[in-house]
Symmetry: none
Subunit: 191 residues, 4 copies
């Protein structure tokens, strides 16, 4: 067994942080390498270039978020599922803000480069919206509902990020979940 790659993990961490903090285009190879404490050339040993590194990060963390949502929802009835998904997302923001922001808040064209049938967080939420509508909520287009739900917690996260709301984000979970139920036309949960 040869010596393990020393540069790979630091490069991933550094790139994730910088892509989130500065954006993809504003982040240079030099920035990443310096932040990782390795040479610029080392990056090319592990990825074919900046694009592939970003795509690698995106696919991996996208999968994490999708799985997280799927597990939060599980086979719960819609109202509970909404609360659980909301809490899971806001918890993720508090625990792993870089992952959350990179997957859900950073603008990239990376999603276009994934296979079209890739399951995305939006798909999970759309399924949830569908189930909620079927369970007696408002009569509404499920895609529109899913946009509404995502908008609720994403904009809440954005407000927290820019200091318009106090953190941690989990402290807003009940309010976001309650608003989501109102949007879906479901009765509020008892606490």
């Amino acid at each position: 067994m040869p010596r393990p790659p020393l540069a790979r993990a630091p490069l991933r961490q550094a790139a994730l942080r910088l892509f989130v903090e500065q954006g993809f285009h504003a982040t240079g190879i030099r920035d990443i390498a310096r932040a990782a404490g390795v040479s610029e050339a080392a990056l090319y040993r592990h990825w074919s270039g900046k694009d592939e590194l970003a795509l690698d990060l995106f696919t991996e963390h996208l999968g994490e978020v999708t799985t997280l949502l799927d597990q939060a929802i599980g086979s719960r009835p819609p109202a509970q599922a909404v609360a659980a998904a909301t809490r899971a997302c806001l918890d993720l923001y508090d625990r792993e803000p870089l992952v959350f922001r990179f997957v859900l808040m950073v603008e990239h064209d990376l999603a276009r480069r994934l296979p079209a049938d890739r399951r995305m967080p939006q798909d999970v939420i759309a399924d949830l919206a569908r189930a909620a509508a079927a369970a007696g909520g408002v009569k509404e287009d499920p895609d529109r509902l899913s946009a509404f739900l995502i908008g609720l917690f994403l904009q809440t996260a954005s407000y927290a990020l820019y200091g318009r709301l106090p953190g941690p984000l989990a402290s807003h979970a009940d309010a976001v979940a309650a608003a989501a139920l109102r949007v879906l036309g479901l009765p509020p949960e008892r606490t």
Copy 2:
């Protein structure tokens, strides 16, 4: 009087479009100048650099959007104001998608460079949320409510932009307004 400025307006238009389509960092001076059909150096007669051009565009269009919202709300009662503001925003998206996206959807650091007391669209919505809460809606933090409202229509716009919802955006106005009222805990408007 020497000859009038011929490059200024084309540069503004081209920059607005490219900043929106590609992002600030991915857009080069050369791109802007070529799209405007003028020389690169012409830009520097009217702005001190790329940054100042972007800031100029931002301040101007930010003002437009803020005014639009203020006028839509006027002195209407909260429920009507929500509907009017929603419709005004989504109309703006259909009429001037570049302005809407540049002010509301593109990630900038530009907002930080404005005077801290500058009235922003978020402030207008926060006022509206406050009024709605006072008018008998849910008991909720107005900042949180304003995040919810903005999330609703912004994510709807985002979905339309990426093809997850069919356009024009105005066709979703009633649904967005209805969802907004549910979020605020106000009774639905009669159509």
Copy 3:
């Protein structure tokens, strides 16, 4: 008689100062125009470009210095002529440092662009050296002697400029003149 040129004199002054302070290449048209308080284009009404402006300044001020030296020397005997020329030069530095420095201390290729038979300060000093050698001083190549004499007061000026000698420069005139006489092998003047 039409209205007088308003930009010409300010441009000359500003250019002279900036060429001396920053050097020719480091001085831009914009610098000159801004310092003169006129537009950049105004320069081209009076000179064909930056080069011609510099050459104009050089020829004019070169003539002034040459004339100053010629008049200081007049028909005086060598020893007195040396003292008078020294004093005239150092006085010029104190009165018109920009002229002195531009003509005698700034590196330019401008001298090459003058007619080869143009009488230069060096020629005046060479004549003086010749006369001094003929009048019983050291047997030396007059060109070499003229280099020595010029070196004496030019380096003194340089030292004063960079603060290695205290000003005003005229306060060193006697010492420079005495050194010049020693170089020429002439007896010291009585004061």
Copy 4:
């Protein structure tokens, strides 16, 4: 160990030559890179920019010249030291005209960026002038004397450079040394 630096030395040589021949501001990165036969970007691997390259060249060669002078003077008595220093300088001009000119004849702001206590050629000459005055020469300010001495050989070099005196410069060494002794009020050396 990765491959050795191939561009560094050529860049130094080319920059030295061009800075001397054209001046710092008139010399572009492109000129230097082309003359060195390497890419422009290569420069930035070894220096942070044009300024740092120039400063590097200056500090190195300034040290060479200072050392050369110090060694020529050694512990010789003043009259011999003057002759030796003169010869050493003029020899340097013939052997390494670029070094001589870059350190002693080109106008820089570079000297200002060195530590204030850096020993400069002027300091060496000032020490020599002090010793000569103490050894029975003229009663004169040592700083002024050092300006005179430097002026003698610098202007001689300048005359040779512009063709007013025939080369090589070493052929003028005896004459310059003799003039220096006269300036210092010391008796001529026997040849």
